[in-house]
């Protein structure tokens, strides 16, 4: 499978990365090179093989349903959460207007 300029533009849009026409042109052969290279996996017979989901068998844990059980990840951290926000306002994350 290979990608053309329109496909790369579509992927970039899905990935929310703005790319110029010039960058698009440069990316098409690069991505095609990588995609052609990974195509070699087609040679491997994987019939009946279960896709790997965990490298070490492990079960997902549930924590006790207790508020602030771990103070590091509990609540009441508004200021710390907002400390690195580029445009915090009134205790919230500020974003450009999304509703007219």
């Amino acid at each position: 499978m290979s990608v053309d300029t329109a496909t790369v533009a579509k992927i970039a849009s899905l990935a929310r990365i703005k790319v110029s026409e010039q960058e698009l042109e440069a990316m098409v052969p690069e991505l095609n090179g990588i995609l052609a290279w990974v195509e070699q996996l087609g040679q491997v017979d994987t019939d009946g093989v279960e896709p790997m989901t965990a490298v070490i068998p492990n079960t997902l844990r549930l924590r006790d349903d207790v508020i602030d059980a771990d103070p590091l990840t509990g609540g009441d951290k508004r200021d710390a959460v907002l400390a690195n926000a580029p445009a915090a306002q009134h205790g919230f994350f500020g974003v450009p207007k999304v509703i007219e």
Binding site: M1, R16, I17, V38, V44, E50, I56, L60, P86, P96
Partner: protein, 494 residues
């Protein structure tokens, strides 16, 4: 008197306990080396001399009070700038996180401070740990302290933990944290004549580590020798309920059980690692490694890992897929860079921020990842890769029915010059050919320095072990270390 900065973790810790020198003297000696090398080596993104001295003062006070100092007491270390450090900028060597100051401490770094270590600074790396040469850092490439004889051409210190490896080799730090997704601890260690171990996936908490490919990312220890790596890894590892993939197992006392006696052990030599076009010197050092392990009492057996040749392609589907998902969080809203063009809406802000904030290799991997996960292609690429990954893992499981550890070269060459391999992304990816398979299978693996090539550059050997058998890996590493007698260090030019 010995130069303090020539000492490793165990020697510094023991010297502080014995009163041979104070922890503050140690911190100041390393601080001076860090400052003197910064312009030439660019190993640090941020140096934190005050943190190092403050931690050292606390250790000296504890010693004066007759308290225990901890397994890393008085040892100042470098922290790869992928670990969140409370109040100290953490960037992942990216523009998008430039100026980001975490309000919390990663589990691994906290454990190291609890063990008595201090912070010399945040070490440079490939942007978001994506790279094998440290050339993708937003803050410039790390320059290796090693040079080819008669040449000033700057060499790579490897990647992605290249700041860590360069700093250890140049005696700017006695030890440093690294992270390894496809070889990012082992390859830089090999290129710089240093030692690095990636433990079993799940041994070290990923909480507070900037995520690249979550099913592969694993923190580990880098230092000058096997014993120092064991001491440091013991301090870093352990169960953390804040990481869903953390293993709820006790951390063994690896240091106490270190032994280079391999009598009764079986070492596997995977025949598929004899890749075409492998330089004769790599072949020779591998043969030398086999002889050393035999001398240590091990029986050496050829084994087969038939899916080895597909590991890199598998990795370059899975890692970008996970990266595209993980890096979706950088949106210009919650932290990091925001690029808001005049009159732009929310979507335009996302796209402009991410275009400005990510480097070329990061964008490349996000786009590949987005493509392989997109509707209609998911099964052909991602599911297929996860199936091949299962086969690669089964290859290892079968080999470990016959042998205790595997011995391979760490990298297919010695360090290359900066700018030499960055034209073709795939050529760069091939650096990880020997390290990626163990990452895909989540196995513990380490690189130990084995010798120098004809140009005087270090070469490393890799040991891969069974899941949770860090001890077997460290012991085989110790057997090689004792026989290689690697004492070379880069001649100081910086």
């Amino acid at each position: 008197m010995t130069d303090i900065t020539d000492l490793g973790v165990a020697a510094i810790r023991d010297g502080v306990v014995a009163g041979t020198f104070s922890a503050v003297e140690v911190a100041e000696a390393f601080n001076a080396n860090v400052a003197a090398a910064q312009d030439a080596l660019n190993a640090f993104i941020v140096a934190t001399p005050d943190h190092a001295v403050a931690a050292a003062k606390a250790i000296d006070a504890r010693r004066a009070a007759g308290e225990a100092l901890g397994p890393m007491g008085g040892v100042p270390i470098g922290m790869k700038d992928l670990f969140a450090t409370n109040g100290v900028q953490t960037t992942a060597a990216s523009h998008i996180l430039e100026g980001f100051v975490p309000q919390y401490e990663s589990t691994v770094s906290q454990k190291l401070w609890d063990a008595g270590a201090g912070l010399l600074g945040k070490l440079n790396l490939d942007q978001f740990a994506m790279g094998s040469s440290n050339e993708s850092s937003h803050f410039g490439s790390v320059v290796s302290p090693w040079r080819r004889p008669g040449s000033n051409a700057p060499l790579t210190a490897g990647g992605s933990s290249g700041g860590s490896s360069a700093a250890i080799a140049a005696r700017l730090v006695p030890a440093a944290t690294g992270t390894d997704t496809g070889g990012s601890i082992r390859q830089p260690a090999a290129y710089t004549g240093t030692t690095g171990i990636k433990p079993t996936y799940g041994r070290c908490s990923r909480w507070g580590v900037v995520a690249y490919a979550s099913s592969l990312d694993q923190a580990g220890a880098m230092a000058r020798d096997v014993t120092d790596c064991a001491i440091m890894l013991e301090s870093m590892a352990g169960f953390d309920p804040k990481d869903a993939t953390s293993l709820n197992l006790p951390v063994p006392d690896w240091t106490a059980a270190l032994s280079g006696d391999l009598k009764g052990k079986k070492v596997g030599i995977p025949k598929e690692y004899r890749v075409e076009g492998m330089p004769a010197e790599i072949e020779a050092i591998w043969e030398q490694g086999i002889a050393w392990l035999k001398d240590a009492g091990a029986e050496v057996i050829e084994v087969s890992l038939p899916h080895t040749q597909y590991a890199l392609a598998t990795y370059y589907i899975i890692a970008p897929a996970e990266a595209s998902s993980n890096l979706a969080r950088y949106d210009g809203v919650r932290y990091g860079l925001r690029d808001l063009p005049d009159g732009a809406g929310l979507q335009d802000m996302y796209a402009a921020t991410r275009a400005d904030g990510f480097g070329a290799e990061v964008k490349r991997r996000i786009l590949i990842g987005t493509y392989v996960l997109s509707a209609g292609f998911y099964d052909a690429y991602y599911t297929k890769a996860q199936k091949v990954r299962a086969l690669i893992s089964q290859d290892f499981a079968k080999a470990f029915e016959q042998v205790d550890v595997l011995l391979t070269p760490t990298a297919p060459s010695a360090a290359f010059a900066l700018g030499e391999s960055n034209e073709d992304p795939i050529a760069m990816y091939l650096n990880d050919v020997f390290t990626v398979p163990a990452s895909l299978a989540g196995l513990p693996a380490m690189s130990v320095p084995a010798g120098l090539d004809a140009q005087g550059l270090p070469l490393g050997l890799q040991i891969i072990g069974r899941p949770l058998d860090e001890q077997g890996v460290l012991n085989a590493g110790l057997a090689i270390e004792g026989r290689a007698g690697f004492a070379a260090k880069p001649e100081k030019w910086w």
